[in-house]
């Protein structure tokens, strides 16, 4: 087993009005990485570059130890399950037909697994899924991605647009998937809280730049939330403060714990507020 499920080095892709700029990150095998960023931050461009649907201007990408421009990458795709935002099977097909098609397209296609997921997700078997809701289409794509013994799942906005109950169900499935030590996931979303629970790593894209790619726990440890009187706040080292909000009765601030005066304790901050603060700041 390779050490990293995914390695991206200096990935650059320029469009007329947008550029993904020199992104490097590594996803250790066996872990889940959440790729966070607002709409248009470059998440889809990054993911499409990984699977080869977008050709980067510069940089290298290694997926499951295989350069994604090499001829061998086609074979590697047997081990990669992909769910793309909106892109899916032709909607004329029924679940049964998708099964029959995929049986021929993947060497390791597991019919039973697929049909079990279809049942678990309550997908009608004989209905062309053009009549499916977005959530159902997503579930179909997820079922397919999980049914050919993939070792890496690449999921673009796979949880957005799902109602909370379904989303939880789907996140559970992803969580189960990584019980296997060689299984890894790269999942993107613009909703942080969706991913916060299950991720080991958080990568944050902002306007085409990777602001950080960090262990989730480290982020939580490094940053904290404090509430204190205004004069006490003024006395703080300004470098410690990421963002502050004056409530009128005091100041609530997101801070770097290490720069706080000794003994001052900060509460646990939500990943979301850390990211929002960083996005506003626009730099690390």
């Amino acid at each position: 087993m390779e050490e990293f499920a995914l390695k991206i080095r200096h990935l650059t892709k320029r469009y007329k009005d947008f550029a993904l700029n020199d992104v490097s990150l590594e996803l250790p095998a066996g872990s889940i990485m959440g790729l966070i960023g607002e709409n248009g931050a470059g998440k889809s461009t990054l993911i499409k570059s990984v699977i080869g649907a977008v050709k980067p201007d510069a940089g290298e990408i290694e997926v499951l130890g295989c350069d994604n421009r090499s001829a061998g990458f086609t074979l590697k795709k047997e081990e990669i399950g992909v769910v793309l935002d909106e892109a899916c099977f032709p909607a004329a097909l029924t679940v049964r037909q998708v099964n029959r098609v995929m049986r021929d397209l993947f060497k390791n296609w597991e019919e039973k697994t697929f049909l079990d997921y279809a049942e678990r997700f309550a997908l009608p078997q004989n209905k062309a899924f053009q009549e499916f809701s977005r959530g159902m289409k997503m579930k179909l794509a997820i079922a397919a991605a999980l049914s050919h013994r993939a070792r890496l799942l690449i999921l673009d906005e796979a949880t957005s647009g799902l109602d909370p109950i379904v989303r939880d169900e789907v996140l559970d499935v992803f969580n189960e998937f990584t019980r296997e030590e060689s299984h890894s996931i790269l999942i993107s979303s613009h909703i942080v809280s969706d991913l916060e629970k299950i991720c080991d790593y958080i990568a944050f894209l902002h306007k085409g730049e990777l602001l950080f790619c960090e262990e989730k726990d480290l982020l939580l440890e490094r940053y904290g939330l404090i509430t204190l009187r205004r004069d006490a706040f003024e006395a703080l080292d300004k470098r410690a403060v990421l963002s502050a909000h004056d409530t009128g009765y005091g100041v609530q601030a997101l801070v770097r714990r290490e720069l706080l005066p000794a003994g001052m304790k900060a509460e646990r901050a939500a990943i979301e507020s850390i990211i929002v603060a960083m996005a506003k700041e626009g730099k690390k």
Partner: protein, 123 residues
């Protein structure tokens, strides 16, 4: 084995796992040689990061509470009385610190505290 993770409050999750497993070993709820859940399994069951659980286990191993055998998993280590004593001392110290802070908060002096403590022993 019970592990209850709280997402509020200040205590990091790895520390919560560490403390709870340690306490269960110290209080003999987990006995010597008993296998612990695998790092990955525990993380997935609790729906938390694998790295977090790994860190807790590493901490437990470093402190000598558990031992890990490659390919077999982690087990509760043989009881080390010295270790237990030390762990308890640490706990006592932590409680005392808390008492001290509370006392300072309501203006009690060290002497008064000591008197209180002396009385406690006589009862």
């Amino acid at each position: 084995m019970d592990i209850i993770i709280s997402n509020t409050g200040d205590q990091p999750i790895y520390e919560q796992i560490y403390t709870q497993i340690r306490d269960q070993i110290l209080s003999d709820k987990l006995s010597e040689g008993e296998p612990l859940p695998s790092i990955r399994g525990l993380a997935k069951d609790l729906r938390i990061s694998v790295i977090t659980t790994k860190r807790a286990y590493e901490e437990l191993e470093r402190e000598g509470f558990i031992c890990t055998m490659a390919g077999k998993g982690s087990f509760v280590a043989p009881k080390n009385t010295e270790l237990i004593r030390e762990a308890n001392l640490k706990k006592i110290e932590a409680h005392m610190q808390e008492i001290y802070e509370l006392a300072a908060g309501c203006g009690m002096e060290k002497k008064e505290l000591l008197e209180m403590f002396a009385l406690m022993g006589e009862e």
